[in-house]
Symmetry: C2
Subunit: 336 residues, 2 copies
Amino acid sequence: MSDRISVRDVAAAAGVSVGSVSRVLNASGYASADLRQRVLDAVERLGYEPDFTARHLRTGHSRTISYLLPNIANPFLAAHLSEVERLTQQAGYSLLVGSSERPARDRELVAFFENRRLEGIIASPSYEYPDKAECPFTRTSLPTVVVDRDLGDAFDSVLVDHFNGLRQAMEYLLALGHRRVALFVSGDNLRPGREKLRGYRAALAAAGLPYDPALVYMPGSWLESSRHRMAEMLQLDQPPTALIALGTQLLSGAVHVVREQGLEIPRDMSVIGPGTMETLELMYPPLTALRYNFQSSARSTVQLMLERIAAATPPAPRRVMVAWDLVVGASCARAY
Amino acid sequence: MSDRISVRDVAAAAGVSVGSVSRVLNASGYASADLRQRVLDAVERLGYEPDFTARHLRTGHSRTISYLLPNIANPFLAAHLSEVERLTQQAGYSLLVGSSERPARDRELVAFFENRRLEGIIASPSYEYPDKAECPFTRTSLPTVVVDRDLGDAFDSVLVDHFNGLRQAMEYLLALGHRRVALFVSGDNLRPGREKLRGYRAALAAAGLPYDPALVYMPGSWLESSRHRMAEMLQLDQPPTALIALGTQLLSGAVHVVREQGLEIPRDMSVIGPGTMETLELMYPPLTALRYNFQSSARSTVQLMLERIAAATPPAPRRVMVAWDLVVGASCARAY
DNA sequence: TTGTATGCGTTATCAT
DNA sequence: ATGATAACGCATACAA
């Protein structure tokens, strides 16, 4: 059963040496047409396929890259991961997934990736290492492409333009006459949250409106109660007339409370949410949503990685910006 | 830079032979306390870590398993994958993901996994190979655990109990007085769809009600229009008064049309949907949903796999059933 | 143009 | 108890 055929078997069957077999298969060095044909025949006949591990040990190429991310179950990340997997496979690489929600695990995984001689790391860690000396990705020599995180400009980065996405959404709401907009976005400890807040505030400032922290909810970690915060906001003297909630859970919790209080969307509350496939149609009226192109983002990610792997000398770090689009549904109305 | 330290370096530093280093590190064979200590010190001092690839080549253990699935972006699959990844990592294994939506790609991936000497395959393919001779998983000698597919009883399987899930949901609706229930589930070409249909029909039969194909929508592949089908159903002489839609897209499309026609949930249409995190709260009134435990399902999957890998002689195939729970929300009402 | 021999970094099988 | 050495399966420098 464990009679795997090796180069030796092929060589014997073809009546040539192992070196010749290898040379033919890798198109390295010379080989006469005759010898070449005999080898190819034998390979075909025996169904030989070079052992990946042995080749890896010899050449140093593992043809495998890894994707380190906080949580595969997050719809945004899953969509991106899915595309990345497709493209890496297409390029002849395998994709190893590693999920990590804390720095210690980041370090473990990076050490693990190095030990396995992976060829690159796509990193979207759950911590941004303000102290660069502690950043596991700075310390590794593996080609790294950072996805939507601020890890300094030593890395190739694919960044989502949260800033302008939020500005766009806010300008849309402000144009509808809204002056008090609630903002529900994930963690201010990571780039996506920070940039969204920046965009939100920039739009307010540009319109000459004050920034009110009481209208902002940015849970640092998972599963805090967005229901509770929305309930609080509705109790304010001047409650929000619009809501931007960019996360399925954040949105669902907030919207639940809004409706529970007998408020109607969009009449009493305008809503902008995340543009993942599901949410777009699940709500009624159809959600006005911020959406970005996973496919193009994944394409950039993989392309940067492959270029960096192939490069003889490491290229200067590049950064790619991915834009959000505002897809107008029917969940926003003019402020009364 | 590429000055990786090897056993030889450690051996030299400790003043012992490479064999001794290996023996100490693998706790195989004898080693005096003194030698043992010297080796451990040297390892510590040099920061040595055995190269995974070389070890793999020598021992045959790749400590890697793969998960073959149709589509990572599917929320159900992503949730399951996420748990499986966590558990495999925890057990010291890496997880390679491979997505495939057609038999030819299944075969490619299996060949690829064999070539890389992975230790096992978790398979949830997009085709069930009625002709077993064509099934790539039958032909491979790699330990295989099948997830929610009917690939015959030669494999360990973790199966979701769609049959009883649907029976449960139907009994609930029938008890509320509904007699015409629309069913929107994915493909009848795979076990999940087939079993759901069986459960649906069993419940109807038990209640002495006729089965009407005009109320059933089971798209074979993605993205057909559930909106269109729902619109048709609402035109029937006797339109459905309840809907079971088990898929985020199926649900959102159908519900969209229902509301568009001015029907109210649950007054004019009772709805039961899929119990993924997002959907549960996103709808208003809160969705009554069928839900199953990803974690327990993932735990079974990984456990079966690890046992099979560890077993000296392959155990008889086992099958684990995972139950659905009906989580009652407020999207169902008594039939008028 | 082709064959031989060495090494990749381990582990495991021998002697000692 | 420990050390020398072969072997895992391949690629390649070198000899022929």
